[in-house]
Symmetry: none
């Protein structure tokens, strides 16, 4: 085979990779998405721009790589025995993620870019941290046979209201995750008998 490349020459600097991802995080957090410029990343990371272009095709890829791990972690909430509690905890984590976390800020930025950049859209669909985490939680809280709608639609029913609420700039304080959880259950899994 010969191994494409990767055997010959100086190996990729893990140091540089980490520095780039950290720099992106820092910039999003400290100075907002507007400050996330390739030049700025390179300078803060102490890395040459060429190195960035070598390993990431677009700014979105960096942003994604920089936030996806954190996103998964933040959306991976511990299970609760009661379905309502489980879903409520998840929705609370989702709201916190979207409104207060650096990774969430990056994610919202990516959703924004996706609206006018098809490539970013596909990149984002490939990862889909919200869809995936929601599916996990639903599967855990609701027996498969109790679900009256297919899983993808179910995730939309669960997260959609909160997603809309936050992305349209409404006050997160006026959201009631427990109410949303109960409403979701009564509709998508009425046999569970949630009030």
């Amino acid at each position: 085979m010969g191994g494409e490349h990767g055997k010959v020459g100086r190996p990729r600097s893990e140091e540089a990779r980490i520095a780039v991802l950290h720099a992106v995080d820092d910039l999003v957090a400290a100075r907002g998405y507007g400050a996330v410029t390739l030049k700025g990343i390179a300078e803060r990371a102490g890395v040459s721009r060429q190195t960035i272009y070598r390993w990431w095709a677009t700014k979105a890829e960096i942003l994604l790589e920089a936030s996806v791990t954190d996103a998964r972690q933040e959306l991976d909430v511990p299970a609760h025995d009661d379905p309502v509690d489980d879903l409520t905890a998840y929705l609370e984590a989702l709201v916190t993620f979207l409104t207060s976390s650096d990774a969430g800020a990056a994610y919202r930025a990516l959703v924004g870019e996706a609206q006018h950049d098809k490539a970013v859209g596909e990149l984002l669909s490939g990862t889909d941290p919200i869809g995936q985490s929601a599916a996990v939680v639903i599967a855990r809280a609701v027996p498969a046979e109790a679900l009256t709608v297919p899983m993808p639609q179910a995730t939309a029913l669960l997260v959609g209201p909160a997603f809309f609420w936050i992305l349209s700039g409404r006050q997160p304080g006026d959201l009631r995750p427990d109410t949303l959880a109960r409403e979701f259950l009564s509709r998508a899994a009425p046999s569970l008998g949630a009030a």
Copy 2:
């Protein structure tokens, strides 16, 4: 008295204003949001850049002004007697707006910008064509006393799932507006007895 200004000097050219708004529409439609550059607008509109800067503070303002009228029109669906039909028709219009209309493309672009530009966010909240149209339809389809949640939250329940579905890049064909309508009714207004 006196009236600030507007009386003295050459009056604003309505022609130029229209040309700019049309140019923005055209650009979003024909070449995507990426092509919406102030220089490009000015050239296509046959207007000087200075004139644009004189009347709109940001690109978002132009985009908003260019799309908001169309948005309202497209989301102002005729009433139906049956609540389910009414909400279904509205959700269908909403999906069409978000996925297929020029104004919808502009609106999604604005939502995207709002995620990393606070000013755009406030601009957008001020108009809120989705929230407002949804409130109108809900008020029309559901008697106020039958609503079990406050109106703002009710609008999120109605449009949230579809909003999430589309902005996260899922296939609009897999959405069932009538199902969403029924689910909304059964939760937000169970006394209407929708199955």
Copy 3:
């Protein structure tokens, strides 16, 4: 028929004319030639730009009109009995004019413009405050028959060294007007016997 125009309609506002000339003077003096912008003149004079364009074809014309009267005054030095004293006094006035007077600053600016704008050049030749004043002084200090060179060249011999000295940015303090006067006389009118 009848007098072109000037009889009918509102007469030219002398007030505006004066305001413009003063504004130009002020601007040259206070903020340098760089600040002499038509917009700036109009604002400081409280006059509309159109009014300026109506009466002056170019910025140079305004500058000229604003400075020429002062220039003539400053270069019209009282006569002295002794030719050397007369020329010395004139050269001192010339140096002061070129280095320290507002009108002189305007004049130097015009000479500068003239180097790359033919029209300004002709405008300036038409007035020629230095050439004219020098000719007057020479004629007064030296009997016509004593002059060994034609008057125009004589004026160049008299003012040239000082003119070069100042326009090339040398220190005016190192100029000796009396020496220059004596040197001029000994060459252009040796029969006067100036040492």
Copy 4:
């Protein structure tokens, strides 16, 4: 030591530098000083504006660099045995330079700018092609002990009349370089016995 920078990174493009200087020359010659715009230079040179800003702080710097070499060459006239011939040849070269050469046009433009831009003035004093060349010729044609005035003043006496003549827009044809040379000698170095 290490020397600031210059070792690391892509080296400056000599090609671009030359192209800029040529473009400036061409523009001054072909379309006059008014056409010397940074945008125009960049376009004609096939160079980005940013590159120009990187290496030259002001338009004057470019103009100076573009003309100073030519200026020195044109003002470096071969020696003649006879002092009068030597000075005459120099003055003829000076007049030709100021009236007919591209470099001379650039130089006059710079003198003009210097009248209302102090920075340009200092830039120009630093080079002073006329003062320097005149000093060289005088030193060569006149023994130091025969000079009755300090060198700087002597240069002003030599070049001043011609400088004034041309910058004030008089006809160069009416200048008599040999007369000016003789007059200069008889005054600044009378012991040489020039008639």
